[in-house]
Amino acid sequence: MSISNSDTQPLLKLLLVDYNSHKTHILSEALDSEYYQIEWASSSGMSLLHRVKESKPDIIIIDIESPDRDMLDSLNVLNTAAPKPVVMFSEDQDSEIIQELVKAGVSAYITGDVATSRVRSIIEVALARFQEHQNLKQELADTKQKLSSQKVIEQAKIWLMENKHCSEKQAYHHIRKIAMDNSQKMEDVAKNILSLATMLGGNHG
């Protein structure tokens, strides 16, 4: 099914995890088929995981009381599959609590009976929030990368200081100069120095 709506946006694929069929039924009534391609999953545990991998939904919608929630949330942590935003719904009507839940990291939160118009905006917010979270994760990965490149540069500096009998400042400038002259990253220059050091049997603890 690949019908496109008026502005040629591809349909968003939703996977509805059926933990409580009454609730999911109400919810699917509220979803606008013009924007969403809805699929149902009634399984739990591993078979649900396979289903998610096969159907590659854009968004997963799940009841907040479902035992499968930790499993689906973890897809974002373990990187075993492409991360997905998980949208929750519940019969809780208390809007303040819903606000708080959304703040607490639930991508979005849909109540038992909800106007069609609202579902769409909730899902859009979920997507945006999810993206925000992905960006944070990317930042974490970048930080880790930065830390490890700093470590490499640090080690190369120490090797230069010990073997070329220069000060820390001189060692740093030396690495930076090679990097600039060869338009390389400092990290790569440091790696080269260290592999050379290993080859020469130098000490680079």
């Binding site: 930790d70 499993m71 839940l101 607490a104």
Partner: protein, 354 residues
């Protein structure tokens, strides 16, 4: 009994249907909450993430949490940064690694040495076999920010197993044994009663417990919002005192048997006594026809000699930060360590038991 000092008397606490929810269940059933003027409703939960969200929104006042959860929440590694604290350790140890029974013959000379744990060295042939088949060994646990997850990683890496060769999955505990039975996973690291369940059902063998990997480490803690404690200081004190008393009540073996009987009821674990009781009585079921291992501290709730066992100490928190870094959940444990005294709260614990 009405305690006029308490800011709040009616509390809702979240618990997971696991063996180490015993302190909460005991405090409720044997009147420890009541003794301290609290009227507590225990609410069974299905998911750790949902429990955390309910704490954040005030749907729950406090809960039995995995030891890393207040840290993960306070640092914002699992989404929003929500300051949480723990003033009490509810239990230490209690997890174990169970592998599918079909793998037992492959252990060769490493097959369950009597009374000894299985070193991960023993599973290298399994990993190699899976690799030949173009697959990875699949091991499951219940939550990423959990001791189970970090203990599983340590068990593997301590034996020099490359984590690239292993696929780690998160599955709800109730689906774990089915997944093992169907061969969807090759093993799991979980807390009681699920290891004993798998052995009793002859689905697998339990080769190593968490106390073999991380000795006497906090497993479950009492967790709550930092703001909740500030708003309800006297209530928090009463809650910690009641639960601490329940932990000490659980020190005696006859009491533990009584606790196992209550835990087996449908509103709690809803499971047979012969599955719940062994670990509480210090016995680790290993494999169908083999003798169990005696591990007195399999589920440790208190130490009659000292209060320290229930005190959340900063050193344990540091250990967790390093484990989180190894698992790729945290970039800089040094920076995070400065936050620890605001999360693990030995100061509160000491204040309550002066």
């Amino acid at each position: 009994m009405v305690n006029t000092l308490l800011e709040k008397q009616a509390l809702t606490l979240g618990f997971m249907p696991l063996t180490d929810s015993a302190p909460l269940v005991v405090a409720k059933e044997f009147g420890f909450f009541e003794k301290y003027g609290l009227d507590v409703t225990l609410e069974k939960q299905n998911s750790w993430a949902t429990m955390r969200d309910k704490i954040c929104t005030g749907l729950l006042d406090a809960a039995q949490m995995l030891a890393p959860m207040p840290i993960a929440s306070s640092l914002g590694v699992d989404g929003q940064r929500i300051p949480m604290i723990t003033p009490l350790v509810l239990s230490r140890n209690g997890n174990a690694i169970t592998l599918g029974k079909k793998w037992y013959p492959l252990l060769g000379e490493h097959q369950l040495p009597e009374g000894q744990p299985v070193n991960a060295e023993a599973i290298k042939p399994l990993v190699a076999l899976k690799q030949q088949q173009g697959e990875k060994l699949k091991l499951a646990t219940v939550f990423p920010y959990s001791c189970h997850y970090y203990q599983l990683l340590d068990w593997l890496t301590n034996a020099g197993i490359d984590l690239e060769q292993i696929e780690i999955l998160i599955i709800p505990p109730g689906n774990m044994t089915t997944a093992l039975k169907l061969g969807h996973i090759d093993g799991f690291c979980v807390g009681g009663p699920w290891n004993a369940f798998a052995v009793r059902a002859h689905l697998g063998f339990t080769g190593v417990t968490s106390s073999d990997i991380w000795v006497d480490f906090p497993e479950k803690v009492l967790g709550m919002l930092a703001s909740w404690q500030l708003q309800n200081p006297q209530t928090c004190k009463a809650l910690v005192q009641a639960l601490n008393e329940a932990c000490h009540w659980l020190e005696s073996i006859p009491n533990r048997f009584e606790a196992a009987q209550i835990l087996s009821q449908s509103q709690y674990l809803n499971m047979d006594l012969n599955i719940i009781a062994p670990s509480l009585l210090g016995s680790c079921l290993t494999f169908k026809d083999l003798p169990p291992r005696q591990i007195d501290t399999y589920n440790q709730f208190a130490d009659s000699e000292s209060l320290q066992l229930n005190c959340p100490n900063i050193e344990d928190g540091r250990w967790l930060l390093e484990a989180m870094q190894k698992a790729g959940h945290l970039a800089d444990p040094e920076q995070a360590a400065a936050q620890l005294p605001h999360i693990y709260r030995p100061d509160l614990f000491q204040q309550y038991f002066e």
